[in-house]
Symmetry: C2
């Protein structure tokens, strides 16, 4: 039997339709049009594309987006001053600082300067701590989108062994925390892991979150597994080699069209949540 395709693109589209209605209702109830502020530092073309896609998604559901473009030479202090302005702007209900920033900038300090109630991309350490302890907080967008995708397809997580390959602050670590909160048994692997193949082979759910093209080999993955690939590399290649998986795993995300659209969807969904809180 062919694997179930975890179609993030289709789910994001249907969720956008619902979000559009919800945004319309919010505005009809007297709220201002919700605004997401995006900050792009420097000229990386991939980052520019991602920011543009996020802005487009905002507009498709009837929210506005304000674009702040800062030069490659921006200092930490300049970026902090910009974030502070957006924190204080009552029209802005969400702030996205596109990762990565140029290396002279202290990214952690800048992420953590984002007001927690506007951290709709889920990048602050405070938000991570709250989410990890199952308290109210916006989750990091990519793992939050993955959780929505898994929930939509009714993928059982409780008691299952999830193996997360990667431990970045905005992907692997929050992914592990969310899966643990959903009662999965979680293993976190990374560049120092000595027996990656053996660990991946045990996974009921494998998450590719390492940012290296096809580092995870198809032959490691067991029959019947759930395969989620959060990687995206030139040529539509993910972190997971999918050779032959289609005929033997239970479900998998396509690349592109799997995790990527759900990341953007989580961001705009959380922006709406933030706007709703402003009203309440």
């Amino acid at each position: 039997m062919a694997a179930l395709i975890l179609d993030g693109k289709a789910l994001a589209m249907s969720r956008e339709a619902e979000l559009s209605i919800a945004v319309e209702e919010l505005i009809r109830s007297g709220a201002k049009v919700p605004v997401l502020a995006t900050i792009l530092v420097g000229g990386d073309p991939a980052s520019a594309t991602y920011v543009q896609m996020k802005q487009n998604a905002c507009r498709r559901v009837g929210m506005e987006s304000v674009k702040v473009a800062m030069p490659e030479s921006t200092t930490t202090e300049e970026l902090l001053a910009q974030i502070d302005l957006l924190n204080k702007d009552p029209q802005v209900c969400g702030i996205l600082l596109q990762h990565p920033v140029p290396e002279q900038i202290d990214e952690r300090t800048c992420f953590d300067a984002i007001a927690i109630e506007k951290d709709v991309d889920g990048v602050t350490t405070k938000g991570f701590g709250l989410m990890s302890m199952q308290e109210q907080a916006f989750g990091s967008a990519t793992p939050a989108g993955i959780m929505t995708l898994l929930a939509h397809y009714k993928v059982a997580l409780s008691g299952k062994h999830a193996v997360v390959v990667g431990r970045s602050p905005i992907l692997g670590k929050p992914m592990a925390a969310m899966l643990l909160n959903a009662d999965a048994t979680v293993t976190i692997c990374h560049s120092r892991t000595q027996n990656l193949a053996e660990l991946v082979a045990q996974a009921d759910i494998v998450i590719g979150a390492v940012g290296k093209p096809e580092l995870i080999k198809a032959e490691w993955i067991k029959d019947g597994a759930i395969v989620v690939d959060a990687g995206y590399h030139p040529g539509g290649i993910g972190d997971i080699d999918k050779t032959g998986l289609d005929s033997r795993v239970a479900a998998l995300t396509p690349v592109p069209g799997g995790v990527g659209p759900m990341t953007i969807n989580a961001l705009i969904s959380q922006t709406l949540d933030s706007a709703r809180k402003d009203m309440s």
Copy 2:
């Protein structure tokens, strides 16, 4: 060959000797005597004993400790008011709120009300988030003590498979984060885990952090493993059944005299760190 005993009691004593000297030097340099405030809510005898042990340790190294005892009927608001007073008290450089509090109290809200710079027991979500992202923060005392114990005995962690059994906010979750930050591959198991025996059997390092007497069976643990038992139950029983382990694992913590003394040591060591920061 007999297993190496990870002697937390001995290490805590030798570290206390060093802390005494450091406290003396700090005071000689013009600082006030560092003060740890302890809050005990209700009359649980075990909790009262733990608080007393922490106060005694403070005094042994030349620091002071102020004891706040609140009745069993204390409300969240009353506890928050008390924490606020201690946050504002310039003489207090550390605050310990003994866990658990009576059930009518919102423990998370109270933990998170502790000022981050006085959170020497490492219980705030903010501190957890910072620590998880390898930023400066006081770690949760028990896992921080365990990391010190492992470092003292030069237990290699990088690339090793650590299996943490338990996922509580102040033990299992921060333990997993600290081991991950030390480049271990980390698996977190808990009450919903379906194949606990099989996972524990893979552990190079097994951490009993589940709070159930001898839930982890000796026969599951592989030869040559490092065995750390953070449990303590009446009769000197831990979370790990140690039958026969002494002759086949590489190292293990005794119960009592292993993790317990290191927890207290981490607390007083971090209280001194906080006092030093006040001076700088």
